[in-house]
């Protein structure tokens, strides 16, 4: 798994009280009962932590954690090339 995936998992455990044992790459946010409001909060945290602009629509609750990590990485990469 990628660094971004690990970062996401750490944040979900430390900031959102998600049980680490429940988080798997193929599980969706919805499966973990994290709705769009939780997800947008997670994205705000990631944006602040990474110090790059990402979109509030980067991922949806129906995305898997692995897919969300990929989508965030794509945004970070495009932010890096456009700046």
């Amino acid at each position: 798994m990628t660094t971004m995936y690990d970062k996401l998992v750490d944040l979900m455990v430390s900031r959102f009280d998600v049980d680490r044992a429940e988080i798997k790459p193929g599980i969706t946010f919805e499966d973990l009962e994290m709705d769009s409001l939780f997800l947008v909060e997670l994205l705000v945290v990631i944006q602040t932590d990474l110090g790059v602009k990402i979109s509030e629509d980067t991922a949806s609750p129906r995305d898997t954690i692995e897919r969300a990590a990929e989508l965030i990485e794509e945004q970070v990469a495009s932010a890096a090339t456009s700046s």
Binding site: V40, V45, E56
Partner: protein, 334 residues
């Protein structure tokens, strides 16, 4: 001549008598106490009884603030509200007259949840120019009057209430002096926090509004995203202007939007969450009333001490946002 500064001289608040629990709302909304608490941090809010108007709560808070300031007279009354008694005229003249202040300048401020910070800023401006010496600044809402009972996203969040402060002309270096300010807006976001019907846009549209258009509506996810970032940027800007760092802040007093927004903002600023004043659990989000209501309740419990440095910030419909700072003065309780 030294420009006068606006100095906090009195404070008060008013809640309607009836507290409404999550359980009571959850029954009709198909929601639950746990669902509401985990998403908002709210356990109860107050709803005004039929026959109550925003001016009633404003007068209650205003009376207390005048008493706390030890004065019966101000020359200006400013009411920040999203839920005026009527679309026309403003609510402030009614409030002024009911407080025995007929003849005082009186006007409303419409900046939704940022209304109180905007009202503080304009009042401080009146004092700075010498147009006013004492201003009664009130944030008052009967938000229950515009809530869509079928919309569980908003109807569990908002509540009714009022908070008020008296500002007097003083000097910038004394405790209670308010400012500098940071204020801003972004009209692109007007659909994110709105009541679509009832204004000129709808009334001159030639069509009838839908039932939902008559009520308040909010795009929760989009608002969360913008609220945290706008308040973080605005507070950093005002701290800069004041020559403070976030480490200098004894109390962060944010508009009580949602406990998760408040916590996120505190984390973002590096201010410990326990230094963030929160009363949202017991009163909900009272929009333009939330900051003075939170301040008055914190003052009543003795949490705020003379010399404490406060950072005030709000975000709301418009979109609008604003921040200011002050050092807490010695204040009487009404």
């Amino acid at each position: 001549m030294v420009t006068p500064a606006a100095v906090l001289a009195g404070i008060g608040s008013c809640l309607p008598p009836r507290a409404v629990s999550n359980d009571e709302l959850a029954e009709t909304l198909g929601s639950s106490d746990e669902w509401i608490r985990s998403r908002t941090g709210i356990t109860q809010r107050y709803f005004a009884a039929p026959g109550t108007a925003t001016s009633d709560l404003a007068v209650g808070a205003g009376e207390q603030a005048l008493k706390s300031a030890g004065t019966a007279v101000v020359d200006t009354v400013v009411v920040a509200t999203t839920t005026p008694d009527r679309p026309c005229p403003g609510t402030a003249p009614t409030v002024a007259t009911r407080l025995g202040l007929t003849g005082a300048a009186a006007y409303d401020i419409g900046a939704v949840c940022t209304g109180f910070v905007y009202a503080l800023a304009t009042s401080a401006g009146l004092i700075a120019t010498g147009a006013a010496e004492r201003v009664l600044v009130i944030g008052a809402e009967t938000f229950s009057s515009i809530l869509n009972p079928a919309d569980r996203a908003t109807s569990v969040i908002f509540g009714d209430g009022a908070g008020a402060v008296v500002l007097r002309a003083g000097t910038a270096d004394e405790p209670g002096a308010i400012g500098p300010f940071d204020l801003g807006s972004d009209g692109e976001g007007r659909d994110l926090i709105t009541v679509r019907a009832g204004g000129s846009e709808q009334r001159l549209s030639g069509g009838e509004p839908t039932e939902d258009d008559r009520y308040f509506a909010m795009a929760g996810k989009e608002v969360f995203w913008r609220a945290v970032q706008r308040m973080a940027a605005s507070t950093r800007s005002v701290l800069d202007r004041a020559g403070w760092t976030s480490g200098d802040v004894d109390w962060l007093v944010s508009h009580q939007a949602n406990l998760r927004i408040l916590n996120r903002l505190a984390d973002d600023l590096g201010i410990p969450r326990e230094r963030s004043i929160t009363n949202i659990a017991l009163v909900g989000n009272t929009a333009g009333a939330s900051i003075p209501l939170a301040l008055d309740q914190a003052h009543a419990t003795g949490a705020l001490r003379k010399g404490d440095r406060l950072l005030l910030t709000a975000f709301g419909g418009g979109l609008t946002w604003g921040s200011t700072v002050l050092t807490w003065p010695e204040l009487d309780r009404a």
